[in-house]
């Protein structure tokens, strides 16, 4: 924090003169001697001048020359922090777009934080270990396969436990957002956990109206976009993903969830990355911020080139 010397002098003057005035005021009120009364009154009048000057120094603001960048920083510090989250199968372009968005927002002066929300396990680790011990989790090549659906009771418990962990993590992030005024950019959210859990447990409960309502409440303050992509394109983009049937099953679940929760879906199979980004920004209602970003970039480029 920068200390303004004029304001500091103002405060010093106010504090000192107020203290002296209060002493003379006491004298004036509680003495019977007329001479002291008159002297006190004169002193009060004299010390009211530095008080006035001090007050003026504190409240006076000259017309300050500012740059548009200062105004921009001021603006980004004032607006309500955002929460944006992208969902979808691997290779759909969530992370790429999230980083692009983060760069735009950071350049505009927003305090952005990216969080990876796929794996929320916190209190669920003992259960996960149990699953491994009873053979419900196994390694298949490079991938770990969870077959929790083989045990109905375990399926229910692990689903509830992981959802509970997600809620805990999400709530903590929201508190941090409020305290630190972060704009949260979440790579995945509850939808991705539900899709994964459904594949692992085949638990119907996850799609019950009550749970759908719960997901809706969780995502209420967050703008969610579901990224969709053709399975083959996804496999080409990301080599470490499972196979086509696995991705197809997941796509169906994402499609169902986005319908149930009325979420925006963006198909990234065909379009160019910049076009998709523009569409993403449009869906988030941030196109005017993007215009502002372009304007700043143009300004910076022309300043660099000395135009």
């Amino acid at each position: 924090m920068r200390i303004r010397i004029d304001k500091l002098i103002g405060w010093i003057l106010v504090v000192i003169s107020l203290s002296i005035i209060s002493i003379f005021l006491n004298l004036f009120l509680f003495t019977d001697l007329i001479v002291i009364k008159i002297m006190s009154l004169i002193s009060i009048l004299i010390f009211s001048f530095p008080l006035m000057i001090g007050t003026k120094l504190i409240i006076y603001e000259p017309v300050n020359r500012v740059s548009a960048e200062i105004l921009l920083r001021h603006y980004s510090g004032k607006v309500k922090p955002m929460c944006i989250s992208f969902s979808g199968i691997d290779g759909a372009g969530k992370t790429t777009h999230l980083y692009m968005l983060s760069k735009v927002l950071k350049d505009l002066g927003f305090k952005t934080q990216i969080f990876w929300m796929r794996w929320p396990a916190f209190t669920s680790y003992p259960l996960l270990l149990l699953g491994k011990l009873i053979g419900l989790t196994s390694r298949k090549g490079n991938f770990i396969e969870h077959k929790y659906y083989l045990n109905k009771a375990f399926s229910k418990v692990i689903s509830l436990s992981l959802i509970h962990d997600f809620v805990l993590r999400y709530a903590s992030l929201k508190i941090l957002q409020k305290l630190l005024r972060w704009s949260l950019l979440l790579d995945r959210n509850i939808l991705d956990l539900v899709v994964d859990l459904h594949i692992w447990t085949r638990e119907r409960l996850l799609f019950s109206p009550l749970f759908i309502h719960l997901y809706g409440i969780l995502l209420k303050d967050c703008t969610v976009i579901v990224f969709d992509v053709d399975e083959r394109t996804a496999l080409l983009r990301k080599k470490d993903t499972f196979d086509v049937p696995y991705l197809r099953a997941k796509r169906k679940l994402y499609s169902l969830l986005s319908k149930l929760l009325s979420l925006h879906t963006i198909d990234t199979t065909q379009s160019d990355i910049h076009l998709t980004f523009t569409s993403v920004v449009g869906n988030l209602g941030l196109q005017r911020l993007l215009e502002l970003y372009v304007l700043i970039k143009t300004k910076k480029t022309s300043t660099k080139n000395g135009v």
Partner: protein, 367 residues
């Protein structure tokens, strides 16, 4: 009710000079022979009388160029040429500024406000209302790119109200308003103003403007916030009133009711109506509208009493401090409270700040 009120000769001289310059400002027929006023002044055209006239013109946001139409004595006129040129240059700079804004802010959603579109109006700066903060930032960045310097305002000003000056194209000043607000008192939602946006012609330039009802509302509340109504504002309000349809008046009343500005609209309307009936023989604001305002505005009696106490309408008309400061701040606080404590506090602070600055400049009577 206001039959006893007479109009200041100054206003009649200005009106007749404008009428001679532009033929008409207002389509109503004058009930006073305006030409005779100009002739009478022309006969007594002296340095002292013209100097007084110029001072009054400036106080009423009018240019001294107007005297060319009222004084034919070349010796006297020559004496005032530097002053006339200064005013002419100021008006020219404003037109340049408008041209500049029109050229560079093409991609910004803005609107020109407080522009008194009457002949000889002398306005210091260009006031632009921006749709929101993003548009304001876009405008500020664009203006900075064009070489303008950006300044923030003094005490109590909104953190986003900025002024752009020293632009390449001239010495004009551009004020960027984030909200329709006078000091910190907001008088309408941006959306309410922007939904009336249309493109009108000013000095041959196509500029975005608020529709006449909204323009009337903004001009009237602005005059009230400065505790005075200039002749330029009165003439402009008169001109606007003529083009406002009856249903649009009700919209103004709704907004005024919502934002606690009924006092300004009612008092200004009374003044405009009195002026128009004295000069043109009829009230320009429909009686039904005045009745509707009376129904909604609790302190109507005080405004009427003040107007009744005036014998001569002298411009600029100074609103009584008791009405425009004391009662207005109470009424404003009561209404704005519903919009939040800060809005209400800023409303009151703005009123008193305006009053105290006027007092310092010795422009206002005490409460």
């Amino acid at each position: 009710m206001n039959d006893h009120i007479t109009i200041d000769d100054f206003a009649l001289i200005v009106l007749s000079a404008i009428a001679m310059h532009k033929n008409v400002i207002f389509s109503g027929k004058s009930s006073i022979t305006l030409e005779s006023k100009v002739t009478s002044l022309s006969e007594t055209c002296s340095k002292t009388s013209i100097s007084k006239l110029i001072t009054k013109l400036h106080l009423n946001s009018l240019s001294s160029e107007l005297i060319k139409g009222v004084c034919e004595n070349s010796d006297v006129l020559n004496h005032f040429i530097p002053l006339i040129s200064k005013d002419a240059n100021k008006r020219l700079q404003r037109i340049r500024g408008l041209n500049f804004v029109n050229k560079v802010l093409r991609n910004v959603n803005y609107m020109l406000i407080k522009d008194l579109d009457i002949p000889f109006a002398l306005l210091s700066d260009l006031d632009l209302l921006l749709y929101d903060y993003i548009e304001l930032l876009k405008a500020a960045i664009t203006l900075e790119n064009e070489g303008c310097s950006i300044y923030k305002f003094r005490l109590l000003a909104h953190p986003f109200k900025v002024m752009a000056t020293n632009c390449k194209d001239g010495t004009f000043e551009i004020d960027l308003y984030p909200h329709p607000m006078w000091i910190r008192r907001i008088v309408a939602f941006n959306d309410e103003v922007f939904k009336t946006k249309y493109f009108g012609i000013r000095y041959g330039i196509e500029v975005p403007l608020p529709a006449p009802p909204m323009d009337f509302y903004l001009a009237a509340t602005h005059a009230w916030s400065h505790l005075r109504l200039t002749l330029a504002e009165t003439l402009y309000l008169l001109k606007l009133s003529e083009s406002i349809k009856e249903e649009d008046w009700f919209q103004i009343l709704e907004i005024a009711h919502e934002w606690g500005t009924l006092d300004s609209i009612y008092t200004v309307s009374l003044v405009v109506n009195t002026f128009s009936s004295k000069v043109y023989g009829y009230s320009v604001i429909p009686e039904e509208i005045i009745k509707e305002m009376k129904k909604k505005y609790v302190l109507r009696g005080k405004a009427e009493k003040w107007l009744y106490s005036i014998k001569r309408m002298e411009f600029p008309i100074r609103f009584p401090a008791s009405l425009a400061v004391f009662y207005s701040s109470l009424y404003g606080f009561q209404v704005l409270w519903k919009k939040g404590l800060m809005s209400a506090l800023y409303g009151v602070l703005s009123t008193y700040l305006s009053y105290s600055s006027n007092l310092f400049l010795k422009k206002q009577d005490s409460i």
